[in-house]
C-alpha cells in the first residue's frame, strides 16, 4: 500500500504514452494525451495524502487539526482547468489540419504540404 498509488500514476502515464504512439486518429491521440496528463494529478495528490487527516479547509475545523497537504492540491487544481483549454487548442489544430490536408490519420500525413 505504501507505493501502490504512485505505481497506479505510473501505469496511467505509460498507458497514455502507448496510446499517443499507436493512435491512428489525431482526435483520439488528444484524448490519450489527456489520460497521460491525469497521471500527474494522481501522483501529486497521492504524495500529499496524510492518513487520518481531513481536507485543508478550516471553516469548521479547530486550528491545529491534521489536514492533507494543500500545496499539491493547489498545483493540481489549476492545472485541471488550464489543461482543458490546452486540449481545446490542440483539437482546434486538428480541425484546421483536417481542413487543409483532408485527413486526421497521422500515418497518412506524409510530409507537410503548403
Amino acid at each position: 500500500m505504501s507505493v501502490f498509488p504512485y505505481l497506479v500514476a505510473g501505469w496511467v502515464l505509460l498507458a497514455g504514452i502507448y496510446g499517443l504512439a499507436t493512435s491512428r486518429d489525431l482526435i483520439q491521440s488528444v484524448g490519450c494525451l489527456a489520460v497521460a496528463q491525469s497521471s500527474t494529478y494522481v501522483l501529486l495528490l497521492a504524495v500529499g495524502y496524510r492518513r487520518g487527516a481531513t481536507a485543508p479547509v478550516f471553516a469548521d475545523l479547530p486550528v491545529g487539526a491534521p489536514v492533507v497537504d494543500p500545496v499539491v492540491q493547489a498545483l493540481a487544481l489549476t492545472d485541471v482547468v488550464v489543461g482543458a483549454t490546452v486540449t481545446a487548442l490542440l483539437l482546434a489544430l486538428v480541425i484546421q489540419l483536417r481542413k487543409r490536408h483532408g485527413t486526421v490519420d497521422p500515418e497518412r500525413l506524409t510530409g507537410l504540404r503548403g
Partner: protein, 89 residues
C-alpha cells in the same frame, strides 16, 4: 475502510485510463474519458481533495468530452479531398 475506498478508486482510474487508450474510435473514447473523469473525481474526494475533485468533475466529465465530440462531428461532417475512412456518425 478509507484505504479500501482509495484502492477501489485507484483501480477504477487505472481501468478507465487503460480502456480510454485502447478505444480507437474518438466518439466512444469521449464517453470512456468522461467515466475516467468521474472516477478521478471520486479518487480525489477520498484523498480529501474536494477542491480538485470539483474542478475535475466539471472539466473531466463535461468540457473535455464535449470538445472531443464536437471535433468528431466537425471532422466527419465535411468529406473532402478523398474523405476519411469512417463513414457517418
Amino acid at each position: 475502510m478509507t484505504d479500501t475506498l482509495i484502492v477501489l478508486a485507484l483501480l477504477a482510474v487505472a481501468a478507465c485510463a487503460t480502456g480510454a487508450v485502447l478505444t480507437p474510435d474518438p466518439a466512444r473514447q469521449a464517453v470512456v474519458l468522461s467515466v475516467l473523469g468521474l472516477s478521478l473525481a471520486l479518487l480525489f474526494t477520498v484523498l480529501q481533495a474536494p477542491d480538485v475533485a470539483l474542478s475535475q468533475l466539471g472539466v473531466g466529465t463535461a468540457v473535455t468530452p464535449l470538445l472531443i465530440l464536437l471535433t468528431v462531428r466537425k471532422v466527419r461532417r465535411s468529406p473532402r479531398r478523398g474523405g476519411d475512412q469512417e463513414p457517418g456518425a
